[in-house]
């Protein structure tokens, strides 16, 4: 496993938010390469630019300057619809909250992404149940989000994110609303998917116990990367 392909590359990326006359420099020159199979924790104080960076790596936004390349495609060359297509085909997302569509069951939430990808009815149902089963959620497949605990909801969100076999899964503070036990369970679910299927994860967090799961830790301060460490042992 010497020359792993890059799934995401940021080069000299800056992001400036303009609020009227006020300009906020959210990112000031980010160089970062995410390799296939990485399990990256993005850490840093509040306001350091973690969410902003994840937005760019997730093709949800465009950089002010610099270039982001996702699975070989230059983000600045893509229009809105093409970015949506890229997200649907190659990326998975886990958000801090409100991940799931409340009127759909756990399985339907997972199926939804597959349906958008054009996967046939029987196949997508089977795939949804397979992923939910892998994360120990088989029993909960037909429950609606309001019948699930916060931890269960987040794990369903992870199931949805990986169901379409994305090249990269991005998670912005996925454990922020969870207690220690549920946070631990969620991290273990992500770790299993990483170890067994080689799913690439980049997640931001404030929680040191969550950081402990990462094989690579990128630290952001004030819109700049101040350290980027790989750890073989975790």
């Amino acid at each position: 496993m010497t020359s792993k392909p890059y799934v995401a590359v940021a080069e000299g990326v800056t992001k400036v938010f303009k609020n009227g006359k006020l300009e906020v420099q959210a990112l000031r020159g980010i160089d970062l390469s995410i390799e296939a199979g990485d399990f990256v924790a993005l850490v840093g104080p509040s306001g350091s630019g973690k969410t902003t960076l994840l937005n760019l790596l997730g093709a949800l936004d465009q950089p002010t300057s610099g270039e982001v390349e996702l699975v070989g495609q230059r983000l600045t060359k893509l229009g809105k619809a093409q970015r949506a297509k890229l997200r649907l085909g190659s990326l998975g997302f886990v958000f801090q909250a409100y991940n799931l569509v409340p009127v759909l069951t756990a399985a339907e939430n997972v199926e939804f992404v597959l349906e958008l990808q054009g996967v046939g009815k029987a196949q997508r149902r089977a795939r949804a149940l397979e992923v939910l089963g892998e994360l120990g959620l088989a029993e909960l497949a037909d429950r609606r989000p309001n019948e699930l605990s916060g931890g269960q909801q987040q794990r369903v969100a992870v199931a949805r994110a990986v169901a379409s076999r994305p090249k990269l899964v991005l998670a912005d503070e996925p454990t922020a609303n969870l207690d220690t036990d549920n946070a631990e369970q969620l991290m273990q679910a992500m770790e299993t998917l990483h170890d067994e299927h080689g799913v690439t994860f980049v997640f931001s967090t404030h929680d040191p116990r969550v950081v402990a799961h990462a094989s690579r830790v990128v630290r952001l301060v004030d819109g700049k990367i101040t350290s980027d460490e790989r750890r073989e042992e975790r």
């Binding site: 969410t51 994840l54 937005n55 997730g58 949800l60 936004d61 619809a81 949506a84 297509k85 890229l86 997200r87 649907l88 085909g89 990326l91 998975g92 997302f93 958000f95 801090q96 909250a97 409100y98 991940n99 569509v101 409340p102 009127v103 759909l104 339907e108 199926e111 939804f112 992404v113 349906e115 958008l116 990808q117 009815k121 949805r160 994110a161 912005d172 922020a176």
Partner: protein, 414 residues
């Protein structure tokens, strides 16, 4: 429909906001139901007007001499004769075909005189073509083959001071400019209830008009059909017969002002229905927009995971269609039975319009009771009106949904 997750998403979102959805459905159903009733009544009133005009002597169709439509010249005569008349009477769907010819003349009785337009008719068919002469209030109607007899309206009889069996002297100018005179015995007096119409009734055997005018043959053949909706088809059929250059026209061409009246009324009602639908549409649009705004976070998450604008539009439009179909059903449920009852019992205009005189409009005696139309057409009309309102109402909210910024999904409201 329920096979696709996005359809389930749309329908369950409606169920989740059951109260708002129900209010939207009721709102549309009320508007559409009113629209259905209005259309049912307009159609009933229109066919009543057309039939009243047709039975008032105009006919649904009329065979006229070439050039008559432009000149309106009553001195023109048809090329068609008895053979053509027999052929027309043989066409299936034609209730009656009655030949006529007119001549203007002076009626005199003793010292009194009145100008009148004499209509020469075929006594065996005329009462079916002109319902006013069906009930003769005094005396009798003309008999087939009879000569020198006249049936007049009450107003004309009063003007002349004429009574049954009086002999009227009629004087007219013939085709060659010569004065022609005839003695006509009053065999019947007609009372329609409208003096305006009574004043215009003076019917004599066709042969007497031929003699007075010095012109042989028919000036027109007036046709009444069984089914108003087949007027155009029957016109084609009759035109296909051997008519020697004569033209077949519809009531609308005979009386363009009546047609215009019906059309402008239809225009007015269409605008009224559209206004009601527009109000309904605005209500639904606001409810749908609220629904979209409430789900901004949901839509942002869906947009973030790659749901494209067209998919979001489809979800919102599915909701609009579902509301529309449900509302159409509800509209039929409440307005259908009412329309059915009205179609059975009719609407009696005398309850709104108190008058002893018969109701006459533009020389036509209007039936005081008309029957709104009920039929299978109500279903597609209900669906059409309903979906028009709800789908249009969903367009702006749908467009708004596509404007959702997917990056919103990562931002947490604190």
């Amino acid at each position: 429909m329920t096979g696709s997750v996005s359809a389930r998403y749309a329908l369950r979102s409606l169920v989740r906001n059951g109260r708002r959805t129900a209010l939207s459905i009721i709102g549309v159903a009320v508007g559409v139901g009113l629209g259905l009733l209005a259309i049912s009544m307009i159609r009933g009133a229109d066919s009543m007007t057309i039939n009243a005009a047709a039975g008032g002597g105009m006919g649904h169709l009329r065979v006229v001499p070439a050039g008559w439509t432009e000149s309106r010249d009553d001195d023109l005569r048809l090329a068609s004769g008895a053979d053509a008349l027999a052929a027309i009477r043989g066409v299936e769907g034609i209730a009656v075909a009655s030949p006529r010819a007119r001549v203007g003349g002076l009626l005199g009785l003793g010292t009194r005189a009145a100008h009148a337009e004499l209509t020469g008719v075929d006594p065996s068919t005329e009462p079916q073509a002109l319902r006013y002469v069906r009930d003769v209030s005094a005396g009798r109607y003309l008999r087939a083959g009879e000569r020198g007899a006249i049936v007049i309206g009450r107003a004309l009889a009063d003007r002349l001071g004429a009574e049954l069996d009086d002999e009227l002297v009629v004087t007219a100018l013939d085709a060659g400019g010569e004065m022609q005179s005839l003695l006509l015995v009053v065999v019947g007096v007609v009372e329609t209830g409208s003096r305006e119409i009574d004043a215009g009734i003076a019917q004599v055997p066709l042969a007497d008009v031929e003699q007075l005018s010095g012109r042989d043959g028919f000036a027109e053949i007036t046709i009444v059909v069984d089914d108003v909706t087949r007027i155009d088809a029957l016109r084609q059929r009759v035109s296909g017969l051997e008519l020697g250059g004569d033209e077949v026209v519809t009531w609308a061409e005979v009386a363009p002002e009546l047609k215009q009246n019906i059309d402008s009324k239809a225009g007015f009602y269409n605008v009224a229905i559209m206004v009601v639908l527009l109000l309904v549409l605005l209500g639904v649009a606001s409810a749908q927009l609220t629904g979209v705004l409430e789900r901004r976070k949901e839509f942002a998450v869906l947009a973030a995971i790659g749901m494209r604008g067209v998919h979001l539009v489809r979800v919102v439009l599915t909701e609009g269609v579902a509301i529309g179909v449900a509302a159409a059903g509800l509209a039929l449920l409440w307005a259908g039975p009412i329309a059915w009852h009205l179609a059975q019992d009719g609407i009696d205009l005398r309850t709104f319009w108190k008058s002893d005189e018969g109701m006459a409009f533009a020389g036509v005696l209007i039936e005081p009771v008309f029957y709104p139309v009920f039929g299978a057409w109500l279903v597609p009309t209900a669906l059409g009106l309903s979906l028009l309102a709800t789908v249009l109402a969903s367009l702006y909210p749908a467009w708004f949904a596509t404007k959702t910024d997917p990056a919103l999904a990562l931002r947490v409201d604190r």
